[in-house]
């Protein structure tokens, strides 16, 4: 009886190291480790020369300066060729005046998109869905977002998540629903009864001992 072997690839999860890769891009051959020390937004799009993707690339280019201020690099990906990426980004610049300043992976082999779980056969067997992986400066995955083919991404939400993660890292706090920079942050809940009793005396704005906020 013929033995059928199936390779099981586990998908990346939050808090785990981002899968290493070496890939052909519009900025030459890049490795994940080239981004060490910077945060990285690795995102996939279904295909070049498509309408929603074009609006997204313009939007990513528009937030690029804001990302740079936060020490974040951008890296796009689709299963199109480098020539296609170059032709498309030149066309975007020619038609809209927007220069795409970040590299785009040409993942013809689908090695990177497979490692990152970017192809969802229920949506498309051949194209990557709209994934966003926020990877920190130590190359750990901190956020994963998946959007369907028909829904363009919200750039302000990506910026907000990065702000929240960097604020959390710098101050050992959490951020509440709809938080934005300047808003109060959540103080980590106490672990013991003693800490709970002390917490309510510490001058934080508390709903109760388990939900206290403070200004940074």
């Amino acid at each position: 009886m013929e033995e059928i072997k199936e390779q099981v690839i586990s998908l990346p999860r939050l808090g785990e190291p981002a899968p290493a890769f070496e890939a052909v891009t519009t900025h030459g051959m890049l490795k994940l480790e080239d981004f060490k020390g910077s945060w990285l937004v690795l995102f996939s799009h279904p295909a070049d020369f498509t309408p929603v993707c074009t609006t997204e690339f313009i939007a990513f280019a528009e937030i690029h300066p804001e990302l740079q201020k936060r020490g974040v690099e951008l890296l796009g990906l689709s299963v199109d060729s480098v020539s296609s990426h170059i032709a498309w980004t030149r066309n975007v610049e020619e038609k809209t005046g927007v220069k795409i300043p970040f590299p785009i992976i040409a993942d013809l082999s689908k090695d990177v998109s497979t490692a990152y779980g970017m192809i969802h056969p229920g949506q498309s067997k051949t194209e990557t869905v709209r994934c966003v992986f926020i990877i920190d400066d130590k190359q750990v995955i901190r956020t994963i977002l998946y959007y369907p083919l028909t829904t363009g991404r919200n750039m302000q939400e990506i910026l907000r998540i990065i702000d929240a993660l960097q604020t959390t890292d710098a101050n050992a706090v959490a951020t509440p629903a709809n938080w934005k920079p300047g808003d109060m942050v959540v103080v980590p809940p106490p672990n013991t009864q003693e800490m709970a009793e002390e917490r309510v005396k510490q001058g934080y704005e508390c709903v109760d001992w388990y939900l206290c906020k403070k200004k940074l």
């Binding site: 030459g28 890049l30 490795k31 480790e33 080239d34 690099e73």
Partner: protein, 73 residues
């Protein structure tokens, strides 16, 4: 290659990196700052320059070769 054209000439970014190496800078971080290029581009570009024998890699630092110096005369 992003630093060396198919004709074997350094691109604008390749040339900036070679000039930085020629001036004595050796780490990717120093070169990125001097050349005004993103660090990831410099790390990748220095690998290419080393593959093309235009730079030598020693651990995490690089130095320009004689062949590299010829290109930025």
């Amino acid at each position: 290659m992003s630093c060396i054209s198919p004709e074997g000439k350094p691109t604008e970014s390749g040339s900036k990196m070679l000039h930085a190496l020629k001036s004595g800078l050796s780490s990717p971080e120093e070169i990125a700052k001097d050349a005004g290029l993103p660090l990831f581009r410099v790390r990748s570009g220095l690998r290419e320059l080393a593959q093309a024998d235009l730079a030598n890699q020693k651990n995490d630092s690089y130095e320009i070769t004689e062949k590299g110096k010829e290109l930025v005369k």
